[in-house]
Amino acid sequence: MERYQHRSYFIETPENESPMSKKPNQSGDMTAEPAPYGIETLAIHAGAQPEPVTGARNTPIFQTTSYVFEDAEHAADLFNLQTFGFIYSRLTNPTVAVLEERVATLEGGRAAVCAASGHAAQFLAFFTLLEPGDEFLSSINLYGGSITQFGHSFKRLGWNCHFVDPSDPENFRKALTPKCKAIFIEVLANPGGVVLDLEAIVAIAKDASIPLIVDNTIATPYLCRPMDWGADLIVHSTTKFLSGHGTSMGGALIESGKFDWAKDGKFPTMTEPDPAYHGLTFYETFGDFGFTMKARTVALRDFGPSMSPTNAFYTLTGIETLPLRMDRHVANAVKVAEFLDGHAAVKWVSYAGLKSSPYHQLAEKYLPRGAGSVFTFGLKGGYEAGIKLVESVNLFSHLANVGDTRSLILHPASTTHRQLTDDQREAAGAGPDVIRLSIGLETVDDLLADLDQGMSQAGKK
């Protein structure tokens, strides 16, 4: 074979580029990690650099399906994964790649792959982890759509989920089976108010040598960074607070790079030669970003739930203001929760930011900047009053989403958690009297007034 050289140029960044460090360390090797940039800086800059050809400062929307190869050898190298580059936007796209690096950076991860939705990101994670007949554990305190995905659709693929009451972390240890390949949780759980003891669950996953997957959608990396506590994989619905404006569907799967896939032969999809890639062994070849490479080049390639570059662009723009927005989301949520807690028509409020919440201590530990802005409450008037409230509000939007600039209201039992049994709904915190709120960025007094008038309407016979 002839030696060849397919690139006639290389891309060079001027020298004062800094490795996420404000104080460059001159001494060479064996030194401590440099001090990182703050999360506000990373939310704006991570992954993005001026575009080399035009100098465009903001990340362009690369609205293209495919990319021209330099020559036949370059094409072959790309298809073989021997070089880095773009083939087809189902796999990689320059706009989406900026979002992937930004989300990976904010979560303190090594790499990320984006997907069409949070559900798609979960599918990529489990397809990369599991073989038919494998099992995993999941907290029962989850977004209802995830409970349905795990309990019904995954079952048809031979992936068996055991749901666990997470209020005692030891319940996970008791539920483990030899076929369990992962534990899945939401630390700050949807539909609201519940905080899990992340550190204790990390320890159980580590003892079992299986990865802990955290859905960090409701908290966002601004409020909680599960990888700092030892989580191995994170999934996001970027549709929610990351994108933040109710404009763009999307999901992300992030890898910490610290899980040892080879430790005891539990993950042949990572450590055995892959017939879907001419015998390539992903962990050996790509090391600490091997899981992401496999999720992208096998699961995303073969099932195709890719994120559109336009949605990636909107999500990037949203993330730039994530820290500012989350501070306001939390401040407004605290005021609304306190208002409801003292309201005569309200039976209970489940918000971990309230001192009276049984989860308040866990929230202070894992969510020091605040317990998010999605939570639930129940009216003394029960189911009927709840339905009336949802129909009487004027600023709150009655819809099935969270993490919008707009405040949202929902009756989970009849919507997001509708496919569950009564017992499952109760266990997931979505019983018949439960109202879920996602507090937005409006003037908080206007939100209080809207709920107040809605509840007085709901109280009328």
């Binding site: 050289q5 773009f86 990976a104 950076t105 040892d260 080879a262 992401t292 992208r296």
Partner: protein, 176 residues
């Protein structure tokens, strides 16, 4: 690109300044790759082909392939047998084999003009590194030159990998 996955290490974490890695990757022209495989799906073959594509000459060292060509380059049994000079040794072998290769590199460093010894992702031998540094050789451990090249020259982030680089500067496209 690693010969074996790196277990989570309890040793002192390694950190190399990007400026150092960038300087190495810019100044090095010829690399002797110890443990280069003729099997095209092996990580060493991937790394060799990638580095060739970026303009490096990579000379394979592998006793089992001695006298055969890998990716158009003659393979030698050891560093001393390579007739030409080379700037860097890339060690694609297990950590416990890296010591002997490091000593071999020290022995022929002047004659072959070796400046850098680079141990691959998953390869770390602190005792060998100490001897190499004492002999005046720049030593990098537990990193892959392919991945670091991709990271520092803008290609790795195309695959959603956290490069750790933040810059408001406009990258320049330079002729090779």
């Amino acid at each position: 690109m690693s010969p074996q996955p790196a277990p989570p290490s309890t040793e002192t974490p390694l950190h190399y300044e990007d400026a150092l890695l960038r300087r190495i990757l810019k100044e090095v022209k010829t690399i002797a790759m110890v443990g280069a495989s003729a099997n095209w799906v092996r990580p060493s073959n991937f790394a060799m082909k990638y580095l060739q594509g970026k303009g490096y000459r990579v000379i394979p060292v592998n006793p089992g392939q001695q006298g055969e060509e890998i990716l158009g380059e003659m393979t030698y049994a050891n560093l001393a047998d390579i007739p030409d000079q080379f700037d860097m040794v890339d060690i694609f072998r297990a950590s416990n084999a890296a010591g002997a290769i490091a000593d071999e590199a020290i022995a022929v460093a002047d004659e072959k003009s070796i400046k850098v010894v680079w141990m691959q992702l998953g390869v770390r031998n602190d005792a060998a590194a100490e001897r190499l540094e004492e002999a005046g050789l720049i030593t990098i451990m537990n990193h892959c030159p392919k991945i670091e090249y991709g990271r520092l020259f803008g290609e790795l982030r195309w695959s959603g990998i956290n490069t750790g680089l933040i810059s408001s500067k406009r990258p320049r496209m330079r002729a090779q």
